[in-house]
Structure formats: structure tokens, C-alpha cells
Amino acid sequence: MSKNLNKLLIPVLSVILGLVVGAIIMLVFGYNPIQGYSQLWNGIVGDVYVLGESIRQITPYILAGLAFAFAIKTGLFNIGIEGQLIVGWFAATYVGVVLDLPPGIHLIVALLAGGLAGALWGFVPGILKAKLGVNEVVVTIMMNYTALHVTNALVRAWAGKDTSERIHETASLRIPAWEEATMYSRMHAGIFVALIAVFVIWYILKYTTLGYELKAVGLNRDAAQYAGMNVERNIVIAMIISGFLAGLAGSMEGLGTFEYVATKSSLTGIGFDGIAVSILGANHPIGVIFGAVLFGALKYGSLSMPNPPAQIPEEMISIIIAIIVFFVASTYLFPWLKEKFTRKKGAN
């Protein structure tokens, strides 16, 4: 009970502290934090357009965070979400452009293609770790860049230029009625995909034998082996599922936000932000939603901060996010302070 309370308390305190420290920094540099934060707030929920865009921004963060959280629960540090996301984006878009299928079915096939491409990108480090003991961190980092350059080459070879065609409407996540209602924001139905994924992952981890096995392997590999679980197979499955989720995150961009795929000069950053999202959410599937809402909202809202009268550079938000993540990551600080406090009380 109190343990759950702590789990909730730490992120909330961290966010408040992050905003307070952010305000101090704004003051130091001669900005008005009240103006800054009110513009930030209005940039997130000020009107239906920004609200729609905020939700759009939140969607891939949920899936990327979920991918990381799932891997962590099973004892794997999947830093390759970025690359899995990029190949997922490409594969989903490719299917969305090339195939001609009925509405609904086309979308599902395209989503699956994105997820499977990500799963493939997760499978490689998974099998290397399982069979040869190669550290997944090294492999996944390398595969991020492989993904970037391979998809760039594929886009050019396929489209003949730096941008692909638009996907067919049958494969799109966009909902015209929503677009109209939100003053033509790019909000799309991907948010449902993300929330369903959260539910499925939560259910798997909590109630299924698969989740039980995966967690056991993550927590104590020796005991898992003693119990007769196939540790190698579990590692591969975990990386496949994590990669699938990351691939879905990429599909959100390809089938919802942009509806095309273009060559990229650098990584998108969403995959790396997914790590922070997961940490903010205490690596818990439900927590990831909150982490993603915070992260996505701050990221998108920050675009309004440079406007007058506040005129605060949007990079300010990166500082605040960094501070929040710092506080959450240093979770030992709070229990330590708490213990120190109660100990003193106990000694008197």
C-alpha cells in the first residue's frame, strides 16, 4: 500500500521539482516563468487544435515507452527502440502505399507490417544474446544506425527521391471527423492502438504464464532455469515483443502523423525518449501512459513558449524534462531522505 503510494509520489514530486527548478532557471535568465508556464499550458490544452496535436505527439511516446518498459521487466535493456521504430515506420508506410486492400483490413495489415519489421529488428539482438551471449545494448545501439541508413537507402531506391508517396486512405489512421473537430490537427486513431497495446501488455505481464516466465527470467535467470524455463527462448520472445511495440510506434508516424516516409538525416529521438517515458512511469505499463502524456505534452507545448510575450526558447523544456528524469532516476534520494527523517524521529 505505502509502496504503491511511493511509486506514485516520486514521479509527482519530481515533476513539481522539475517545474520549480525550471522556473528558477527562467528567472535567472531574465524570463518570466509565469508567462512561460501559462503559454506552455495553453500550448498543450489551450484550444482544440493544440490539444489534438498534443495527443498526436503523446501516441508514439506511449508505444515507445511501453516497448522499453516491457524489455526492462524481462531483464533486457532495449536501447534499440529507435531503430525498431524507424524500420516499423518504413514497413508500415510501404504497405500503406504499395498494397490495395479494403479499408480496415489495409490498416491492420499495415500496422502488422510495421510491428513485424520492428520485431525483426528486435529479434536480431535477441537471438545474438540468447545464443552467443552478446550484450543487447551494444547490438541495439548499432542497429539504430543500421536502421537509419538502410531505410534511407530503401526510400531512395523505392521512391526515387527523398520522400515516398502518401499512403492510401484505406491504410490511414486519420479520422476526418476528428480532423475537422480539432481545426485540422493531425490527431489520429493511433491513440487507441497505443492504449490497447498498453492493456494487452499489462494483461500479459500480470495474468499470463508468458508474462510470469518473462518476468522470472528477468528477475532471476538461475531460478528460471532451475524451474525448467527456456531462458534463451524467453529472451528472444521478449525482444520480439518489445521490437513489435517499437515498430507500432513507428507506424503511428507513417500511418497517422505524416502518412509518408522520408529519408532522415538523424535518428528521430522518439525511441530514446521512450526510455525516459518508461522511467517516469516506473517501468509499469499503466505508468507509461502518464509518462508519455507528460513527455508528449511538454514537448508539444514547448513550441508555444518562444511566442511573445514570454519569448522563452523551447529548449527550456528539454532542461525541465532532463531535471524531471534526473529526479525520478535518482529515486534512491527520496527513500534515503525519508529513512533519514524517520530514523531521527525514531531515535528521539
Partner: protein
């Protein structure tokens, strides 16, 4: 007689719980004073009070006659109190000297003066017969040696009151003997020792006096010369304890496990099991005696499928299980109480309930269509908690929050309830107190009586002698003799364990003698 340490009427509360309730401990200069109590009796709390880690809520501490307030371990150090912890606090990649000077490095012209420190350590090592190489790396020396480094650490810091916290839990029988010798040397040089333990034998051989505590209360302080293990055990537990496991004669039936010419290598590729043969029958307990490191771990890991067997055959219930996956072997009828309960036996972060289904989670009724049936799981966990007397608040508690004895009961309950045909128990009572040991031995005998085969591996000769129906002695990866516990003694076993193979004739001599009587 002068007391070096006096802890008078010490009380330490955690919330409403009195971990120490008015305990008095007085240690004379130059004695080995044992502090005896079950797990959780309050020994560690009392010592942590002495070492400055806890502040007492009542009572007084006097060191060499002077009242003191020990506010933190540094104060304890300054007063000449040193502690050899049960879990060593050493940096593996540092040398002995580097570990010992850590935190108080002698500096000469801005650099650490290793040589002087090493010379001093050599001197101390010789003085007390510790035989430690100051330049050896911790990762290269044995556990027994590492413990000596811990002892040297306290000596180097000028301690003359040394607390040993369960020092023999990690040692082989030889190392235990050597340690007790070292202790005797230490007191000869004027040191005083507090020995925390629940092993009665060590107290009887090494200690001068003993203070027994039970449930946070000081029960009695006695001269060891005036007492005996039975008295100490009943004082510690608060009731009479049976050392000899009560059991009827074994009624061995058909063979359940057969090991033929088994060869197993350890993780470094060194052959540890070298053509071993073994047979266990239903209705008997076969004890494997031997000094640690003679292939016991590798043998069990090979039988249970955790380690690859290089050659040879293993049959369980007549079925070839050589190099099969652990799950297949488990399903063929194997129960396994692993040597390291925290490493292999439990997922510490999982609840008791989740641990109870560690090998059976995928089967009905624990799960259906891949979904865990928690109501069933909780019920079977509650059954095990009740039947095996696991002391816990509920089945939702994390296994890691249980004491060692209760963790072991969870494992034993789980393995027995699976109704295996062969139960392997590796060091099943390691680190446990008398009450728990008695309980576990009883369970093993019950398994035997219900027609299961039991394979017991232990480094404790007493355990092997009192529980087994047959004793197989393992030496250098082979079974070099099988003896009847009723017709052998510690000397004979000790010789066999050291690799002397002449027991067969001797045994038959004895049999003849018996018949002649």
C-alpha cells in the same frame, strides 16, 4: 575478573517490537564468548548496538570498565571493536593489502604507501598464523582466506575485541577447524572474541562461555565446561530438541535413480565428476558425504539438467534423462531443493504464491489457456504456508522478505507437494537454526517413508550420519566408498573424505565383530 565488554540491560525497540529486551552480555578479557540464539533471536541487533549501527533505547555499554556511547562504527573502531561480517566486504579486484587499508590509506608524499602497509600485514599474519599473502588478489584466494583478510582488517585497525558473525557458515570442515585454531591464537595474544553462532558444536569446541538469547531476551550465561549441547539447544529453542532424527529402519524398494560413469566438467572446463556411479532406491535416503569441491555441485547440476554431462548416463525411473532439459527431468519425477536457495530456488521479488508455482505454473489447475488462475495458486500457497509452518503474514509477501529458514520451508513445501519420485536435497539446512533443521530432517524422513527416494548432499557430517540410510563418500569426482551410518564413525568417514580407500575390508571386519558380540 575484569570485563572488556559489558552490555548491561540493553533494550532496542523497532516500533512496538522489542528486538532486544533487557539483555546483559559481559565478556571477559581473553575469552571466546559465544552468543547463541536462533535466527531472529536478536543476536545481530545486539551486535549492531555494540558496533554503533543502532542506538539502544535503554541500558548501558561499558568498554574496559568505562561507560561509553557508541554513536557510529568509527567510535567502535576507536574503542578497539572490530567485526568480521558474515558476508565479506571485500573488493574482488583489489589485493589483500589494498582491501585492508581501504578507507584509511597510509599516504607518503601524496601517494599510497602500499609497502609499509603490506609489511605490517605480513607481520600480523605471521603473528597470528594466518598465512595470508598481502599481494594476492581477493578473486584468487579461497573463501577461507578471504575471511582471514577480514580478520586481518580488524587487527590492522587495532581491534582487541573482535566480533565474528556466523563465521563458519561459509567454510568447509577443514577451514572451520583452522578458524577455531586462529581464534584460540588470537585470545592467547590477548584479544577477546564474541562469536555469534547457532552451531552448538563450535561453541563446545571453541568457546569459554556462552550467553543464550531467545526472542530478544537474555536467557542465561554459562561456562561451556559446565554444559552440554542438549542443554544449550533446549535453552536456545525453549523446548527439548531431538538431535537424533527419529526414524524407522529403511525399507528400500526398486531403484529410482541410476548414474553410470558420469563425467561432468565445471564452468572452467575442469573435470569435476570423473566416471561416477550411483544408485538410489525408493524408500531410502542416500547421503553423499564429502568435502566441498569434490564434484557434489556438478553431480547434482548434471542430474537436474542444469549442467551438461560430458559422458555417462543418468536414469530416473528407468528413463534416460542424460542432458535433457530441466523441465523434462522435473516432469519425469524429480524434486530438487537446491544448494543456493536464493540463487536457484526462489525468485526473491516474486511473492510466496508466485514462487510456489515455479515449476508448475504452466499446468492446470495453476493456469488455463496460458492465463494464471490466481485463486487456485493462492490457495495452494496458503496450504503450503500452513502445512510447512512458514512464518509469514500472507502468501502475498515477497519471498525475499522471509528469513532463510522460512524461504527453505517454502522450497521444501513446493518440492514435496509436487510428489516427486526422487527428492534431491543439497545442503538443505545450511545456515538454519536447530528448530528448522529438525523440521527439515523430519520432512526428508517422511518422504522416504512414503516410498520416495531421497538423495541428500551435505558438508555437515552430523547431518549425513543422522539422516542417511546409506552414506556414499565422494572424493575427487568419484564415489570411493559406501558405508552404513550405523556401522561407521566420524574417523572412518573423515579418512574416506580425504581419499583413503580401505573401508570395505574394515567394514566387513566390523560386521564380523558385531556378529561376534
Amino acid at each position: 575478573m575484569e570485563y572488556v565488554v559489558e552490555m548491561l540491560n540493553i533494550t532496542k525497540k523497532f516500533g512496538d517490537f522489542k528486538a532486544n529486551d533487557n539483555i546483559t552480555l559481559q565478556v571477559k578479557k581473553g575469552e571466546i564468548h559465544a552468543l547463541l540464539g536462533e535466527n531472529g533471536a536478536g543476536k545481530s541487533t545486539l551486535m549492531n548496538v555494540l558496533f554503533g549501527l543502532y542506538q539502544p533505547d535503554g541500558g548501558e555499554i561499558r568498554i574496559k570498565g568505562k561507560p561509553v556511547k557508541i554513536t557510529d562504527p568509527n567510535v567502535a573502531n576507536d574503542l578497539g571493536i572490530g567485526m568480521v561480517h558474515q558476508h565479506f566486504m571485500l573488493v574482488d579486484t583489489f589485493t589483500v593489502t589494498e582491501n585492508i587499508i581501504l578507507g584509511m590509506e597510509p599516504v607518503k608524499r601524496g601517494t599510497i604507501d602500499i609497502k609499509d602497509a603490506a609489511d605490517e600485514i605480513s607481520r600480523l599474519s605471521k603473528l597470528y598464523g594466518l598465512d595470508v599473502d598481502p599481494y594476492a588478489y581477493i578473486s584468487d584466494i579461497s573463501v577461507g582466506m578471504q575471511q582471514r583478510v577480514e580478520i586481518l582488517k580488524t587487527l590492522y585497525r587495532g581491534a582487541d575485541i573482535i566480533i565474528f558473525d556466523e563465521p563458519t557458515a561459509v567454510l568447509t570442515p577443514q577451514e572451520i577447524d583452522e578458524l577455531l585454531e586462529i581464534m584460540k591464537k588470537l585470545i592467547k595474544e590477548g584479544k577477546s572474541i564474541i562469536l555469534i553462532t547457532h552451531k552448538l558444536k563450535e561453541i563446545m569446541t571453541a568457546a569459554d562461555r556462552v550467553t543464550v538469547i531467545r526472542r530478544g531476551k537474555g536467557i542465561k550465561t554459562l561456562d561451556v565446561a559446565d554444559t552440554n549441547p542438549d542443554e544449550l539447544a533446549s535453552l536456545m529453542v525453549g523446548r527439548n530438541v531431538h538431535f537424533k532424527t527419529d526414524k524407522k529402519p529403511a525399507q528400500p524398494k526398486e531403484e529410482v535413480l541410476r548414474v553410470e560413469n558420469l563425467v561432468v566438467k565445471d564452468y572452467r572446463g575442469v573435470e569435476k565428476v570423473k566416471g561416477l556411479n550411483l544408485s538410489v532406491r525408493r524408500g531410502e535416503i542416500l547421503g553423499i558425504a564429502g568435502v566441498d569441491g569434490n564434484g557434489q555441485s556438478e553431480l547434482i547440476e548434471a542430474i537436474t539438467g542444469l549442467r551438461h554431462a560430458d559422458s555417462g548416463k543418468i536414469y530416473l525411473n528407468g528413463k534416460d534423462i542424460t542432458n535433457k532439459r530441466p523441465r523434462e527431468i522435473t516432469e519425469t519425477g524429480l524434486g530438487h531443493i537446491p544448494q543456493d536457495r536464493q540463487k536457484h530456488g526462489l525468485v526473491l521479488q516474486y511473492s510466496i504464491a508466485e514462487n510456489v508455482i515455479l515449476q508448475t505454473y504452466y499446468k492446470e489447475p495453476n493456469s488455463k489457456f496460458g492465463v494464471l488462475q490466481f485463486n487456485t495458486v493462492y490457495q495452494s500457497a496458503r496450504d503450503i504456508i500452513e502445512k510447512y509452518d512458514v512464518r509469514t503474514q500472507s502468501e502475498f509477501e515477497a519471498a525475499g522478505s522471509l528469513s532463510g529458514g522460512n524461504q527453505q520451508k517454502v522450497i521444501i513445501g513446493r518440492e514435496i507437494e509436487r510428489q516427486p519420485d526422487l527428492l534431491i536435497a543439497a545442503q538443505p539446512t545450511r545456515g538454519l537454526d536447530v528448530g528448522a533443521i529438525e523440521f527439515i530432517h523430519k520432512q526428508l524422513v517422511e518422504q522416504r517413508d512414503s516410498g520416495k527416494g531421497v538423495l541428500l548432499v551435505s558438508f555437515e557430517l552430523d547431518e549425513i550420519m543422522s539422516v542417511s540410510d546409506r552414506i556414499a563418500v565422494i572424493f575427487d569426482g568419484q564415489i570411493i566408498g559406501i558405508v552404513d551410518p550405523k556401522e561407521t564413525n566420524e574417523q572412518e568417514l573423515g579418512l574416506l573424505m580425504a581419499g583413503q580407500t580401505e573401508p570395505l575390508e574394515k567394514k566387513s571386519d566390523k560386521t564380523i565383530e558385531r556378529e561376534g558380540e
